[in-house]
Each structure stands twice: as C-alpha cells, then as structure tokens.
Amino acid sequence: MRTKMKTSSFVILMAVGVVVALYTLMPFFLVCINVFKNANGIVANPVGVAGMSIGQLTANISNVVNNSNFNFWYAFGTSALITIISLALLALFGGMAGWVICRNKTKWSTAVYMTFVASMIIPFQVVMLPLISTFRDVGKFVGLSMLQSIPGIVFAYCGFGGAMTVFILTGFVKTIPYALEEAASIDGCSYEGIYFHIIFPLLKPSIVTVTILNGMWIWNDYLLPSLMLGQNGKVKTLPVAVQAFVGSYVKQWDLILTAALLAMIPMIIIFLIAQKQIMNGMVDGAVK
C-alpha cells in the first residue's frame, strides 16, 4: 500500500497529465478540424472552427480518393496486401527458422543465429543503393520483376524483418520445455509435425509481438517502397502515395490534410481495438 497522494499534488499532476495529452493530441485535432474546410478557409483560419462544413469534408475526401495521382484505395489496398503477406510469411518462416536454430546446437545453426543477430545493427542506408541494383539485376536475369512489384517488396521485407523476427522467436522457443517435443516424438509425431503441432501453437503470443513490431514498421515504411517501387510508380504504398501527392500539389492543405487523415485512420482504428497488445508488443520487442 503506497502513501496516499496529497490533494494538491494530485491536482498538479493531473493538470500536467492533461496538458501533455492535449499537446500530443493537438496535431490530430488540427487535422480533424481542418479537413472540414476548403483550402482558403484553412489558410485564413487554421485554428478556429469557422468555415467548417460536412459538405466540405465529403468534397475533400472525394477529391482525394478520386484523385488519379493519389489513388487512395489502390494505395491503401497495396499497403494492406504488402503488410499482410509480409507479416504472414515472416511469422511462418521466422518461427520455423527460430525453432530449427534453437533445437539444433550445431556450429552451423549458431553461425546462422549470430549472423542474424549481428545484422540487426546494419542500417538500411548502407544496403539500400546496392539493394536496388541487385534486385534489378536478379529481376532481369530470372525474368521476374523484383522492383515495381508486390512480390519483390514482400521478399525484401522478409529479408529485412527476418533478423529481428528470428531473434525474438528463438528467444521464445528457448522457454518451451524440450520434454514436450520428446513426448510427441515418442508418440510417433514426425520431426516437422512437432513444429506445426506443438511449437507453432505455443508460439502464438510471441508471434503477436513480432507481428505488431513488423506491422508498424512495414505499414509506415517510406524509404524502402519509395526506392523499390519508385516515388510515383504504378504500384505505391500509402506513405509513398502521400509523399507523391504532396509533391505534386504544391501546397493544397485541404487535400494534404485529408490525405494524411485517411492515411492515419487505419492505424488509429487498429490501435483502439488492440491497444493493450500493441503497447505490450512494442515493449516486449524493445526489452528482449
């Protein structure tokens, strides 16, 4: 039982808490009120509520969604597809690799593990330029387009996300008692069956963690897709589309802010639904 807080300090702390919350939420609030205005209304009066109307909001949204240079639903769908496929593959392959690494203490598996761990310090900048040329060459060679294509970028995310995923999942496999696997083996379960029947179901909580960490990264990532897909290419993710859109319309804040709002909404909805898992997942990812 802790000491009871004094009323005065309670009030002060509460006030500080509210002020900071107002500050962190302020940009969201500004976006929300300004999407109800037209461009001139925003420039004339960005803070107040004057000039707000529902009709303007629908007009802004339809301008953004129907804008052929933004193509919101297409960008949204592309982002969602890339994120979901990458996450599924990372979870599947990451779990498999983590289990093999953890359960086979050979020098090979240790070397693979150490390579994965060491690679986590490699910044994207040092590989981004050769990555593009490598992908272009590989693509030209085998006749599959690795750049400008969804499979290509999913492949890249599996490569970049692999290290952290394996690291976290290996750590988790270690906590699963080996006796479980021995028992299953005696019962006649095949080697690969052990993974799919015993280990994979047990990995679920840590798969949620890696999915959240990878998901936040992949969904919001700008640099990799902008380089691989082009800044204004045919296939574009939401962040790339926002950047291209802002660049092409010199500064039409009504459209830019509406685009920003549309880009933020999916993340915020997911956060409201799975707040606890996301916060815990983010912490687990950092602490492990």
Partner: protein, 439 residues
C-alpha cells in the same frame, strides 16, 4: 496427414506468390509495371508520358482520351509538379526498368539520357517550328509542346488605377518609382502588398533559384548571347557588377513584397492572392495563367478577371526583353514503345492535338501553322513581345543540375529573411555557385 496439409498450405502460399510474380513480369499490356528492357515485346497500344507541368494534367488527360478515341492507343499521363525532383524520379524509373515512353526534359536534363533518346529529325512537325530541341550533333531530341515566358507579371487594372504605365517600366529606377507610387496607394487599391514575391527555399527554390536567377543570366541579352551562362559553366563564376545590380533589384522585391508570403509562403498562396487582386505584381511567369483560370478561377472572377501583362525584370536600365522559351520538351525513350510514341507526338502537332493543347491546356503553341489562340491571361502579352522581337532566351536551363535546389534557392531565402544584405548576397552567390560547379 495433417503435416501434409500444413506443408501444402505453405506451398500454396509460395505458389500464389509465384503467380503474382509471374503475372507481373509478363508483358500484359501494362507497360509500366514489368516493362524491363528485355521484355521488349510490350504491347503496342499503350504509351506512358511523364508530364512535368502539373497544372495541365487534366487537359493532357483529355488529350489522351481524344487520342484513344481517334486511334485506339491509350496514353497514360503521369504528372509531377514543381516540388518534385522529376529527373531524380526518372532516374529511379530507369533504375527500376520502369521508364515511360515519353518524358519531360529541359536543358541539362538531356545530358542524363545521352544516347537513349530517339532522334526525331525526320518527323513532319520539325519543319513547322523553330523551338524543337537539338543537341550538339543536330539531332532533334525534344518536342516543344508549349511556350512560356518569364517576366514580372502585373495586374493591368491595378496599374491603370494607380496611374502607372507598364510600357515605361524598363529600368530599375522606373520600377522602383512605380513600386513607391503603388505602395502609397495600397489601401485605396485594396492591395496586401505591391509584389507577391516568395523566396521560400524548400519547395519554391525553383521560382527564385531558376526563374528569377534566369534574369541574371539572360536579362536584356540577345537570344543567342551566352555570355553569362558560359561564365557560370566555367567553374561557377558570376559577373560581379551585373550580379550587384541584380541583387539590388531583388532587394527591391524583398522590400515591397508581402511579408507573410516572402519567407514562408507557398505557391498556392502567392497565386491565389494575385488572382484575387491583392498584389499588383507577382514574381511568377506565364504558367500561372493556367492556375488563375482553373484552381483560382473563382477568386479571379471575383477580382474582375483583370487583364494581365508582363514587364521585364529590368535590373539594369534599358532591359526591355522578357524571357521566352519552350520550358521543357517531350523526349521519346529509345528503349520504349518508340513508334507509338512518335505517332502520338506527330498527332499532337496537328490541328486535332493542338486544339486541346492550346485551348484546354492553354499552351502557347510553338508551331507556326497553329491557328488556335490560348485562352490564357498572358497569351496576348507574350505574343506582343515575340512579335516586337523583345525576347531573350532561357539559358538558365543549362545551369548545373541541383544548383537551385541545393544551393542558390537558399541564398535567395536568406536574403529575403534579412540574414544577408545586397553585398553579402553577391558574395554568397559567388561562393555557392563556385561550390556547386566545383563539387
């Protein structure tokens, strides 16, 4: 059996991925996605054009629709605006094997694509214009689709009301006097400021670093005179006396500009205020006509659809020319769908294409046989200057790539913000130009 099921699931996933990959790599009429140069069998009925003038995007899409109607060939228009590093993006496309069939180039941009562009000298339209872009060997590698002018744009109604005759504004003293006169009547004329000049560095560097600086390079010179661009190309040198006069003129703009626009303004704000009759002058070229009659049409109408004109940025006495040129050209990429691209450009030069380019995109036609007149506030003033022979060229487009964006734009911004005075503006300009050309 369950293990098999799991495996099949995994395989199915992988196969679906392959299917996606295969689908993308096959040339399925979608020229832009998988169209690396070795899948050259791209279908003949789609071409892609990268346009550098966002303001004519809608008109070009109409142009493409009409072309499709007439010939069945689809032209995809991809527009990029002022703030986008178009050449950088195109290089990215080249890297990714995603080059458009036709794309925009000007000046030094052509150097990026040496040997990769189609020589169009056999095309019918070449004989109809003086404005085609020829490289050193005489190959025609740029299709001129419009003419643009750089001058100090003015609102004719306001000048008239203030009693200023634009024809007299051919010296810095005359312009200064006019600014003073208008400034003193600002309230009566309903003005926010005399000039809408914006020197913001991160997204409007092109306005100052390219177009305003262009006057230092070409102001008052004959079209063939390359004195100052040659000096600049030779290690980034500037003519100090000329630059000093230019600096004093820019200082005049700094003094009389709208302070809320000068340092942190935006293009939209600048043009909207000019269209609304809030500025007597604006430091943008003829391309703003398109913005005034589309995005800002309501404000422009409310301000009485006033007549517009241009005066030279006369930073030295006797400079009577405005700067005109094709601002950029369309080039055909040699490894793309060249035949369809050439056919499209040829069509653009005919009446059917010119009608849309001139009347809808408000391009000022560089073709002699063209009879359409652009409905553009600046069309009249440009043709007046051209017929009077009072035009200078656009040698600024031969400045080193990135000079405005990475170097000079910032110097204009610092000058505007008061961090530099006219003398230090000149010396700083000398320093950054040298740094740019020697890096």
């Amino acid at each position: 059996m369950k293990k098999l099921f799991a495996l099949i699931m995994a395989l199915a996933m992988a196969v679906s991925l392959v299917a996606c990959g295969g689908g993308n790599s096959t040339p399925s009429g979608n020229t832009s996605s998988g169209d690396t140069s070795n899948t050259a069998a791209a279908s003949g009925d789609t071409i892609r054009l990268v346009n550098g003038k966002i303001e004519i995007d809608a008109a070009l899409k109409n142009l493409a629709a009409k072309y499709k109607e007439e010939t069945g060939v689809t032209v995809e228009i991809e527009s990029m605006g002022g703030g986008v590093d178009i050449q950088g993006t195109l290089k990215g496309y080249y890297q990714a094997g995603n080059m458009p069939d036709i794309f925009v180039n000007n000046g030094t941009d052509f150097d990026n694509w040496t040997g990769m562009l189609v020589d169009m000298k056999d095309q019918a339209w070449v004989s109809d214009t003086q404005a085609a872009y020829k490289d050193d060997s005489g190959a025609v590698i740029g299709f001129p689709y419009t003419t643009e002018a750089i001058g100090l744009a003015y609102n004719a109604s306001i000048l008239e009301a203030a009693g200023v005759d634009p024809a007299t504004l051919t010296s810095p003293d005359a312009i200064k006097a006019a600014f003073e006169t208008i400034d003193s009547k600002k309230a009566d004329l309903g003005l926010n400021a005399v000039v809408g000049y914006c020197a913001e560095a991160s997204s409007l560097y092109w306005s100052t670093g390219n177009h305003l600086f262009a006057n230092y390079i070409d102001g008052g010179l004959d079209r063939e005179d390359t004195t100052y661009i040659d000096l600049l190309s030779d290690g980034g040198q500037l003519d100090e006396a000329r630059m000093t006069d230019f600096a004093n003129f820019v200082d005049l703009l700094n003094q009389y500009s709208d302070p809320s626009l000068l340092v942190s303004g935006t293009y939209d704000q600048q043009i909207l205020n000019f269209s609304s009759g809030k500025y007597a002058f604006v430091t943008q070229g003829s391309w703003i006509g398109a913005t005034m009659t589309s995005d800002d049409a309501d404000a422009y109408a409310a301000a009485g659809n006033f007549k517009c004109g241009m005066v030279p940025y006369a930073f030295q006495a006797g400079q009577e020319n405005i700067l005109t040129s094709a601002p950029s050209y369309w080039s055909v990429f040699g490894e793309g769908n060249t035949e369809a691209a050439l056919a499209f450009l040829d069509w653009c030069a005919t009446d059917a294409g010119q009608e849309i380019l001139v009347t809808e995109a408000n391009c000022i036609s560089p073709f002699e046989s063209c009879t359409f007149v652009a409905n553009d506030p600046f069309a009249q003033t440009i043709s007046d200057y051209i017929s009077a022979g009072k035009t200078s060229n656009w040698h600024w487009s031969f400045m080193k790539e990135g000079l405005a964006q990475n170097y000079t734009g910032q110097v204009f911004a610092d000058f505007a913000a008061g961090n530099l005075d006219a003398a230090s503006f000149v010396s700083t300009m000398q320093q950054v130009c040298a740094a740019c050309y020697n890096s």
